[in-house]
């Protein structure tokens, strides 16, 4: 099996290094007390409203990380669920966390236990509320849909990576009248969530969630670093369009920007004094 390496295109490796540097520098800035601005995200403001509604109705809140395998997406999703659980613990609102991945389930148990502890209500923690249903996609989907229907949940939070089952969750929640907030990195599922949920967190907003909710300097700094990286991408795209228009798509500079081996082609053309 072949794997990608920095040597395939050093330009891409340099970009990765730049993004890492931008993130780390801004984390240090934030830790030193720099005031960093973060724009309003309505979907996240609605989390407290959804919890309040569940509390008033006395019906459970569901948290669904989907079939997300354990990784950065799962960690981000569980960070959000931990925040939601802390809010829930204040009002003793019932909750269910439904996972389709056993590793995520194991970590979720610890995270939710920590959340109840940090909220000062360890007595409310019930291991049975964090459930692994199945690692088969549609068995998991039917399990979630059944639970939403039977328990008439009042709020449903779906954060993580979703596939074809996303619409089953969202439409079932819609049918029982739950407030639904979804956030996903799976852009193919975004239209389904937009159509069926009250609020949808799209793409990079998903990674901004923990910074937005906690206002921790490390996370805010990281977010500013991400914005600088996006600016770099925008400028590279713009530069690439101009360069491709002027020099053509086979020019070494264009290969440098996007093709494996482009680095070698670019430098050999530079050393030869232009041309290809």
């Amino acid at each position: 099996m072949s794997y990608q390496h920095a040597q395939d295109n050093w330009f891409a490796a340099i970009v990765i290094g730049f993004i890492a540097l931008a993130v780390l520098v801004n984390i240090i800035r934030a830790r030193m007390g720099a005031q960093l601005y973060i724009r309003r995200i309505p979907g996240l403001d609605a989390i407290d409203e959804a919890i309040g509604r569940s509390t008033e109705l006395g019906r459970p809140v569901t948290m669904i990380p989907g079939m997300t395998a354990f990784g950065v997406v799962a960690v981000q999703a569980l960070t959000i669920f931990k925040y939601i659980t802390k809010q829930i613990a204040r009002f003793a609102t019932p909750m269910r966390l439904l996972s389709g991945d056993p590793t995520v389930f194991a970590v979720a148990q610890e995270a939710i236990y920590d959340a109840y502890n940090e909220a000062g209500r360890p007595d409310l923690y019930d291991a049975d509320n964090i459930r692994f249903l199945s690692d088969r996609q549609f068995a998991f989907a039917s399990g979630v849909a059944g639970l939403i229907q039977r328990e008439r949940v009042a709020a449903s939070f779906m954060f993580g990576e979703f596939f074809a089952e996303s619409l089953i969750f969202a439409e079932t929640g819609n049918m029982v009248g739950a407030i639904q907030i979804a956030g996903t990195v799976s852009f193919t599922q975004v239209p389904f969530f937009v159509a069926a949920c009250d609020y949808t967190i799209i793409g990079e907003e998903f990674y901004a969630t923990s910074a937005y909710l906690s206002r921790e300097p490390v996370l805010l700094g990281s977010l500013v670093g991400q914005d600088i990286a996006k600016l770099l991408f925008a400028l590279t795209t713009l530069g690439g369009v101009v360069a491709a228009t002027i020099a053509g798509t086979d020019a070494p500079i264009i290969k440098l920007l996007g093709q494996p081996g482009g680095w070698d082609a670019f430098w050999s053309s530079v050393l030869k004094g232009g041309g290809q």
């Binding site: 390496h5 993130v23 995270a111 089953i168 852009f187 921790e216 996006k230």
Partner: protein, 299 residues
């Protein structure tokens, strides 16, 4: 150096020797168990700060392995002439590292299954609400697990696959589980219909644009679009000839299939790529925070 060169050339640094593979594998598994069983009490007795230091170090070293594998040059033939120039000395260790992750996942599956069975056993024993469903789940679980294990053993020719086992497994897997999966999947069609109805209700200018564009794309990608454009309206199906004037080019470009394709490739794809860029950068930033243990969410 010569031995190292030979080992690298044979790719045996990260692979078990063929002739004693079972012995080595057994020793590694036993060693891992001893390490885990020995490490767990040590970690429990350590103060939180000490425990955290160990976790931070292990996380950093594990992340460093993958980063080093990516950034190190692949061609080391100048130093090790027999080495494969398409990989560096860490590359062969990627697969074993992924195997370790799979093993951890398999252990977690046991935990998940234990939690599921415990919950439903409690439901059944304490006669909680709808405990009948828990009985169904437990019976299905035991029967399916037993038949699956027997079927796997039969595939490995450890037990004989009799007609009863063959038939029972086929009934449960092919004629029940697969069909239930298909039934759930087919529900999506109805859900799409109801979700689309809500999304396309004309309530604002944006919703109107969305609906109009969706209609164009939907008609454009099915044969009806081609029939309307090229048969009913008589628009040219082929591309415009080179050097054609603007009106001719326009005439060759306004067939519904071409408009649908343009919307998908020129409007939809760039927007999706922009989202992907944001997601990629966000994921990278999150990975850096996790690697350096700066993320305090669930870690």
């Amino acid at each position: 150096m010569h031995m190292l060169t030979n080992l690298m050339a044979q790719q045996t640094i990260w692979r078990l020797p063929e002739e004693s593979r079972i012995l080595f594998a057994t020793l590694i598994v036993l060693g891992a168990f001893v390490l885990i069983l020995g490490l767990a009490p040590v970690l429990q007795t350590l103060p939180p700060r000490g425990r955290r230091a160990i976790i931070v170090t292990v996380t950093f070293l594990a992340g460093l392995f993958f980063a080093a594998e990516f950034f190190l040059p692949v061609d080391w033939t100048a130093i090790f002439p027999k080495d494969d120039p398409k990989r560096n000395f860490l590359t062969p260790a990627i697969q074993p590292a992924q195997n370790v992750l799979q093993i951890i996942g398999a252990l977690a599956l046991g935990l998940g299954t234990f939690g599921l069975v415990r919950l439903h056993l409690r439901n059944a024993v304490q006669r909680r609400a709808q405990w009948g469903y828990s009985i169904v789940l437990l019976v299905s679980f035991v029967v399916m697990a037993t038949l699956s294990i027997l079927n796997t053993l039969a595939e490995k020719e450890i037990v004989e696959r009799g007609p009863v086992l063959k038939r029972a497994f086929s009934i449960l897997f092919d004629y029940t589980l697969v069909q239930l999966d298909a039934a759930m999947f087919s529900l999506i069609a109805f859900y799409i219909f109801s979700a689309a109805y809500r999304a396309f209700r004309i309530r604002s200018i944006e919703a109107s644009i969305l609906m109009f564009t969706a209609m164009l794309v939907m008609i454009g990608v099915v044969p009806l679009g081609a029939f309307i454009s090229y048969t009913l309206l008589g628009l040219p199906e082929a591309g415009a000839p080179e050097g054609a004037n603007f009106l001719t080019q326009l005439e060759h470009s306004i067939g519904l299939p071409k408009i649908a394709n343009w919307v998908l490739t020129q409007l939809n794809a760039p927007a999706q790529r922009a989202i992907e860029f944001g997601v990629g950068i966000g994921g990278l930033a999150m990975a850096i925070r996790l690697w350096l243990s700066l993320e305090r969410g669930v870690t």
